[in-house]
Amino acid sequence: MAALCKWRHRLKPAVFFQNAARRQLSDKHDYDLLVIGGGSGGLACSKEAAQFGKKVAVLDYVESSPKGTKWGLGGTCVNVGCIPKKLMHQAALLGGAVKDAQKYGWRIPSPITHDWLTMAPAVQDYIRSLNWGHRVQLQDKKVKYLNLKGSLMDGHTVRAVSKTGKESVFTAGNIVIATGGRPKYPTHIPGSLEYGISSDDIFWLKESPGKTLVVGASYVALECAGFLTGIGLDTSVMVRSIPLRGFDQQIACLVTDYMGSYGTKFHWKCSPSKVEKLETGRLLVSWTDLDSGKEDQDTFDTVLWAVGRTPETRALNLEKVGVKMNRETGKIIVSADEATSVPHIYAIGDIAEGRPELTPTAIQAGKLLARRLFGKSSELMDYDCVPTTVFTPLEYGSVGLSEEEAVRRHGEDGIEVFHAFYKPLEFTVAERDASQCYIKMVCLREGAQRILGFHFTGPNAGEVTQGFALAIKCGATYTQLMAAVGIHPTSAEEIIKLNITKRSGLDPTVTGC
């Protein structure tokens, strides 16, 4: 068998050149569209293309994490991102709700405790049902699914390798790269790779992570630290500089303040220097306080690295084929229609430079791309005013510009910021602290005062923000907001009622009904 393989490989170049020549003449490819990556973007693009009766294939392959975690079809969102994150966030919120329930009259035996071994398998089972659902959908829509690791050979050819090393070659009229990203490991820190885990692993742990140190201040770090604290685990966050880089900083601080008051420990302006394993099996983390230079140490059961994500481009062979990447980020450079520097090769989702790292934008971009390639459409993806929500214990929903960005673009005199601190009604009887529940609307100062940015912290921030995202996309102004009527009693109505400006210096705390 090995001899045969060697012979086949030696023959390959000759056959390959023959095939290349033949291909240029005939235009007959194995597939009209071949998608590398079966995540949010890849699946949406392939399914949409298949609707046009095109021959489509998806290659999805998950390289296991350094800790050995693997998962099925669906990409980051389904397996190690949005879905398990939101479910575990919900588990944490429910813990808080049970405590509040006692003030509302429920007789609950205390103390209430959380069992990882009940939650994690339930979440994992749901994820597996999504893997299956995607598999059935692909089959149903006549998209060929291959559990193979793809890489480019030329502008129309993809090499695909199975987990056993078996190679195949496919040709396609069009190729879409949608391989996404994976968590970064700070390999310069001794022990980081051997002893730490990432978001790829946390949702699939067979046992509770126990006392955890989360390193990083991205939304991944804060969301994970948030739900771990919420389910009762001793959780610390180590931040090198600022929280939620890229987000409105005033709001980022409200988010971390809330987490701090609810039990998450923060080590600000600190950086880990090494991770060692003790005889007990626990991890000893040493770190430096970047301001004082002081060294400190503590033991943890788990160290979770959340220090950024790297694009999955290394194994794609992009340079050889001429697909240009941004040297700094490693992401694929794309034009407004998702095209790369090589004709007929496109890139969507997290892998593409300058795009939001979000599921809905990847899905939409994938669908529109398929419609442009195979339908008669010329509609481009609009990446403007994309709403997001950070699912930290105090949720943060936003759409549009941060206050800092609005000032950068229009100057402080060119904008008007309306804001309010409010108290969700549910917090009253529950005797919950609402100090960080806040709303901010950044508007143009002149004329009807178009809304440039919307920021909301509070329960159900995602649900609250979604409707306002549509309004802002339609060009809503503060004048229109003033004419709208709120729904009572809700937290969202406080957005409609915004009237205090930062400029006035008046107290923005909302008073009673």
Partner: protein, 124 residues
């Protein structure tokens, strides 16, 4: 050619669970159908349609696996939302073809599609 899988026929929830518990560690596929009358015809028309399609793909079952053919009961039993199949096994309709202990399942019209049935039998 010798059959590579074991076929088991059961009636009702208790018999089904007994058959499953006797085959721990095995790859168990189960097909749930409305019960057949004396003429051998089920009250569930979709089950009548799906059965030959599912049976046609049994040759693709992995070696050593188990195929349980389960008649759930009469129409009135099935319509009760509290019947054990609905409550405990979380079945939503008949016919249902599932791989026990996994989220893999095909429900109603999905069972008419032989490529989906074959996919369940042949993929991990």
């Amino acid at each position: 050619m010798a059959r590579q899988y074991e076929e088991v026929t059961v009636r009702g929830y208790d018999e089904f669970m007994k058959a499953v518990s006797q085959r721990k560690g095995k790859d168990v596929f189960a097909y749930f159908s409305g019960s057949k009358n004396e003429q051998g015809i089920s009250w569930c028309p979709d089950c009548v349609k799906a059965e030959p399609i599912v049976r046609g793909e049994l040759g693709y079952l992995p070696p050593g696996s188990v195929f349980i053919y389960c008649q759930v009961g009469e129409r009135s039993y099935w319509k009760d939302p509290n019947n054990e199949f609905k409550k405990t096994l979380k079945l939503s309709g008949v016919p249902t073809l599932l791989r026990y202990g996994t989220p893999q399942k095909l429900v109603e019209e999905e069972c008419f599609k032989k490529d989906l049935v074959r996919m369940m039998f042949t993929e991990d």
